[in-house]
Subunit: 408 residues, 2 copies
């Protein structure tokens, strides 16, 4: 008898009919001989409505109270889902984050899971219940409610799977799995059957929006095997698990694209030391996520550094960096460029295969696409291109690695 | 420095503007030098919407899950009220029933308060917070959420006042207090400044809908002095407290009326023993609240019993009694009468004053109003009249005891 955790997002429980659909899936999974824990989000739209209500009261509601308010969204959906399961003749029991033993730390509205005490959940499973847990929430040591921020329900599911030692954690979403590239961009993109945690992490941080990196990191840390699959059909999804030697047979697993990128360049740097730390500290204090970083020295002997970031952060980045320019050098200046996109190829096979970068840049060059900043990790190569070139870039790179066929 | 518990019902927090109004009242109370605990209901309409949502899923939702669903209503209002207080520059902290230490027992959707562990509430008060607790909810020993059923928020407030040893518990509602009679019926009805618990109990059970009897019983048991007052103005309300000798100076405190009454009469009873128990058991098993009971023996030597009840229960009462008629006697029969109303006069002064009943029935007789069943307690006299006579009956009895002036 296997123990399976299934996570359903807000759109999967967005209407009473969809809640019934989820109830049926959970029952089928139990009927197939499994113990089942569901982790679910608030019905889609509910969280936004609650936030709007809070903003009717004040512009910057205290986050501790926002958590109390937002946690009601999942509490409603767990109750309704248990009702639907009961209505179909099966036993169910709901658990709020606190009742499920989800202990958190950190800030309100972006709490982190410290650990889960799953005794009550396991008792309910032992009684034959389908267990339905509220995702996205837990309780801090001081007894206050924490929500986990964006992507928090995925994290709840992965953490619950680790705590109850589940055999599998299925993340149900509105896509069939992780694709070799966005199918809206590359028509012949294929679903990837198996990925390593590292590949999933690189894809998450390079534009594939299927899951947030922190959930993947948690799964990797606790060895939770998970599957991303579609709540609207029965197609097998993408399994994400520990890397194994077989995976290296494919040099490149997929191509990610990320739009709306901007670049900031600080040039004319003559400060002798620690200027990188100075720049990055200023950006971090402004809560700006810097993506690619390129540093070099220009022909005039002065240093320059470039960063990419989401274009929404550009204004804040300029505001954060301007005050420190004088400390960087008398001629230090700031230049910015928007209208960029980022293309990344990801695959653990890169570690043991040379020439991946050459293939990427040859394909782009042959298509006449100019590349900008370049960044690499052990299993990823990223480059910026003009926003208008990104779709063609994705198609030619996807083709260059034969990702539309089964042979990489 | 006094400690005051203030309870606000659903209509008092029914809109964001009204929530702000409550926030202002709480702040004023704190600024006047008090420690303040608010106990509040869900925004009006929210609970009904949640129940409708549950019924979209199934006809008879499991009550344990209904409690999980309904508890979100108060959880939302406590968060919003704390935001409003914060917005005005004061410290506030919300508590769900569980966080406030409200321990319950009994059935789901009609839980009872076992006790309250107010340590966290008191800590928050010590930190200078205005404490905002969710009424209507608590947590059972098994960790599941209980709601307290109708009138539960009043009970939460009274119980919290007992637990934190409050100096006063103010029950804010949409009326100025308890009146000598319903002002819509008797134009010159006056607000009663002080009532004993017993009088409040008799008025609650005889038609005054201001508060449920069980909240008054709880206050009496723990000696909680409470005040019923209007959340929309600053008028002093009605204080309810332990009886004291001064209260006896008024023979009659008020006149209650209750409409929509029906009478059921079982006649031709020849069963030798225990027939009253048999009849009342049948009605109790059908969950019918019997109000007045009159038993006597008719001229033919056969016994008869009459009961009053809300007319909505009449059909169920007939269904419950028909099967046992053969056991009551070969000629036992059932008669019913609807279109009745009940008039009650209440006052602790009755104990030491004779002639109260005579005054009531003389006043009614002089007005040509026929009376039906009569029931009395130590501090109450009730009688049924035709529904069409109830308003005039209330007026003449109100006048007979001079309740429109300050001398009873």
């Amino acid at each position: 008898m296997a123990l399976i955790v299934q996570k359903y997002g807000g759109s999967s429980v967005g209407t009473i009919d969809r809640i019934r659909n989820v109830a049926r899936r959970l029952i089928e999974t139990q009927q197939a001989g499994n113990r089942v824990v569901a982790v679910i989000s608030a019905m889609s739209g509910v969280t936004d409505k609650l936030i709007a209500l809070a903003h009717e009261v004040m512009d910057n509601p205290p986050e501790a109270e926002l958590d109390v308010l937002l946690a009601t969204g999942e509490q409603q959906s767990i109750a309704l889902l248990c009702m639907a399961i009961t209505d179909m003749g099966y036993k169910a029991r709901s658990f709020t984050g606190q009742q499920a033993g989800v202990c958190t730390y950190g800030s309100h509205t972006r709490g982190r899971i410290a650990h889960i005490e799953p005794d009550q959940v396991i008792s309910a499973l032992d009684e034959g219940c389908i267990v339905v847990c509220a995702g996205f929430q837990g309780v801090a040591e001081n007894g206050r409610i924490h929500t986990l921020g964006r992507g928090g329900s995925d994290l709840s599911a992965i953490a619950m799977a680790a705590a109850v030692k589940a055999d599998l954690c299925q993340i149900f979403t509105d896509v069939d799995g992780v694709y070799t590239c966005d199918p809206r961009v590359v028509k012949n993109a294929r679903k990837i059957p198996v990925l390593s945690y590292e590949e999933m992490l690189e894809m998450a941080s390079s534009g594939s929006k299927v899951m947030q990196a922190r959930s993947v990191e948690f799964a990797k840390k606790f060895g939770v095997v998970f599957e991303v699959r579609n709540s609207m059909n029965n197609n097998p999804g993408t399994i994400v698990q520990e890397e194994n030697p077989e995976m290296e047979s494919l040099v490149v697993r997929g191509v990610s694209i990320e739009r709306n990128q901007s670049r900031v360049t600080v040039s004319g740097i003559t400060a002798p030391v620690a200027y990188t730390a100075m720049i990055l500290t200023a950006l971090a204090e402004a809560e700006i996520n810097v993506d690619m970083i390129v540093a070099n020295t220009a022909h005039d002997g002065m240093a320059r550094q470039s960063f990419t970031m989401n274009m929404n952060d550009l204004g804040a980045a300029q505001a954060a960096l301007k005050p420190i320019l004088p400390q960087l050098g008398p001629k230090a200046r700031l230049d910015t460029e928007s209208g960029l996109a980022k293309l990344s190829v990801v695959g653990v096979g890169m570690r043991s295969n040379v020439g991946v970068a050459a293939t990427v840049f040859r394909a782009l060059a042959e298509a006449g696409i100019a590349t900008g900043m370049i960044a690499t990790s052990e299993i990823r190569i990223s480059t910026t291109v003009e926003a208008g070139d990104i779709e063609q870039a994705a198609r030619v790179v996807h083709a260059a690695f034969h990702l539309d066929s089964n042979e990489g």
